[in-house]
């Protein structure tokens, strides 16, 4: 049996852990630059606030209903996510993080009297350790577990657990799920299937001929079909050990004093880091930049400085890495020194597929990703750094709008909660 454990309104729940006064009150978290609502507490949903609704459209409602509004605090959500996943990984024999707030857990080999009870125990343990409420869906396959989770959210909000562990329960689950709500069925397949008169997932399982599915929906559809029938087809992703950081640094051939020359090197180091990240299919959460004079020249005034900047979302896109590296350089560069060496390090690497993006970042992200692939390709053919980025000055106008950002309660010592 497989469980899908999903954090409820995750970003809002994170804010509530460190601000218990928000429990039971309407609360939303806005996307980067405070654009639109990306997480809503149940109370906010009841007020009619929609997912991805632009903030300016609900200004009046926010004021009238005293909705608490937060800017997205990815540092906090990221750390809380790590904690939730850690608790679950310690409880089950095998687990696979699916996104920032979802994890599949393999329950096979575990001792239990009742699967729903086991689900409750997992839920309680996560709640006790992290303060984050979760919903647990249990079923024979990943696709059905995802469905069971959705069912639990809708129909068992009090318990927060649903287990489809008998043939009858699986059928009930399938009949309660519309074709378009099945994990893996996109708009195209939905149109195809509903055109053929399949309304629920059960219709598909009972009436669709496998031959037809394979013809119309390829092996992907066939795999999905099997998953719905209770046959496991989606393999568990083995977590590969990835490097924790990648560093590119070099001594300059000569001492340099001008900022734009240092910037060029930093840009070069950064794009090399980006290339390595993409090759390994990992993303970095922090960018570290350092800069130093030559300590063996006592006649020179000495300066060495480093800074680590956090990215809102882990990335391997050179464009985003550059933006932060240049900002870092702006913050540590001082005029009047003979610089000998500089370097860029990307830290806290995570597998690319574990990165969850903001709703609207996905679009440009895919575009950027394509661009990066082209850049890597061209550089491979024509030699290193033939295609590169023009370095711009982001110092003045680069500033993220974060009106209501909560503190990094778990990762910065001077921002931890205070008790009297």
């Amino acid at each position: 049996m497989i469980a899908l454990i999903d954090c409820n309104n995750f970003y809002c729940s994170c804010e509530r852990v460190f601000n218990p006064g928000l429990l039971g009150r309407a609360l939303i978290v806005l996307s980067n630059n405070d654009g639109c609502a990306i997480s809503r507490s149940e109370e906010a949903k009841e007020l009619g606030i929609q997912m991805a609704q632009p903030a300016f459209m609900i200004d009046d409602l926010i004021k009238k209903e005293e909705v608490n509004v937060f800017s997205s605090n990815y540092t906090l959500y990221d750390d809380m996510s790590r904690r939730v996943m850690q608790v679950i990984k310690e409880l089950v024999p095998r687990a696979e993080v699916y996104s920032v707030d979802e994890i599949f857990a393999d329950l096979s080999g575990m001792k239990y009297k009742d699967l729903e009870e086991l689900g409750s125990e997992i839920k309680d343990m996560v709640g006790r350790c992290t303060g984050i409420p979760v919903t647990v869906g249990i079923a024979p396959t990943k696709t059905l577990a995802k469905m069971a989770n959705r069912y639990a959210k809708k129909n068992r909000p009090g318990e927060g657990v649903f287990s489809a562990d008998t043939k009858e329960l699986v059928e009930m689950l399938l009949s309660a799920t519309k074709i378009g709500d099945v994990w893996g069925i996109g708009k195209q397949f939905e149109a195809l299937l509903s055109g053929k008169g399949f309304v629920t997932a059960l219709d598909l399982v009972n009436r669709a001929p496998e031959e037809w599915i394979r013809k119309e929906m390829s092996v992907v559809g066939q795999r999905l079909f099997h998953e719905l029938k209770g046959i496991n087809c989606i393999p568990w992703e083995e977590t590969t050990k990835v490097r924790k950081n990648i560093c590119t640094s070099r001594s300059f051939g000569k001492l340099i004093t001008r900022k734009n020359e240092v910037a060029q090197s930093i840009a070069k180091f950064t794009s090399s880091c980006g290339e390595k990240l993409r090759k390994e299919k990992t993303c970095a959460r922090r960018v570290h930049v350092f800069l130093q004079t030559n300590p063996h020249r006592p006649q020179d005034p000495q300066y060495f400085q480093s800074i680590t900047l956090e990215l809102e979302v882990a990335t391997n896109l050179t464009t985003l890495l550059l933006k932060h590296a240049m900002k870092a350089l702006d913050m540590i560069f001082r005029e009047g020194y003979n610089y000998q060496k500089a370097g860029v390090m990307v830290l806290d690497l995570i597998p690319q597929k574990e990165v969850q993006l903001g709703l609207f970042e996905t679009l440009t992200y895919e575009k950027d990703q394509k661009l990066m692939e082209k850049v890597d390709e061209l550089n491979k053919v024509f030699g290193k750094d033939v295609v590169r980025f023009g370095v711009q000055d982001y110092g003045q106008n680069w500033k993220l709008k974060q009106g209501n950002l909560s503190a990094a309660y778990t990762t910065r010592l001077h921002q931890i909660i205070k008790a009297s």
């Binding site: 218990p20 006064g21 790590r82 939730v84 480093s306 390090m345 931890i416 008790a419 009297s420």
Partner: protein, 141 residues
Amino acid sequence: MLNNLVTMMCQSIPYLGTVQAGFPSPASDYAEEEIDLNRELIERPAATFYVRAVNDSMIDAHIPPGALLVVDKSLRPKNYSIVIASVDSEFLVKYYVKDKGSHTLVPANGKYKTLVITEDMDFRIWGVVTAVVIQVSKYPV
């Protein structure tokens, strides 16, 4: 000098690779793992949070203002556990005393009053304090 420089540069770098050069140290056979306070003080890292004490209400429990509290959220408080409680959206650090169904938060300083929890309060135990860190060298007293 160079050492300092490297240390300063790498303040926020979690791992620094070492380079093997010259002869291996004859003492390396005797190497033991270094003492790690995280391992000693933290039983369940995923459930451990840090909280800063801001006043002297728990001074007799070895918690001066400014002390760093190690808090395990997964523990259930026993009688007289030092807890972080949230009362009407404010965090408090106090002894937790439960007696015949009544909950009280008791300070470790005669200057402060015991708080009896009543039904109209929004009261939650947030976590149990398991250790107190005081950096005496930084202490202004």
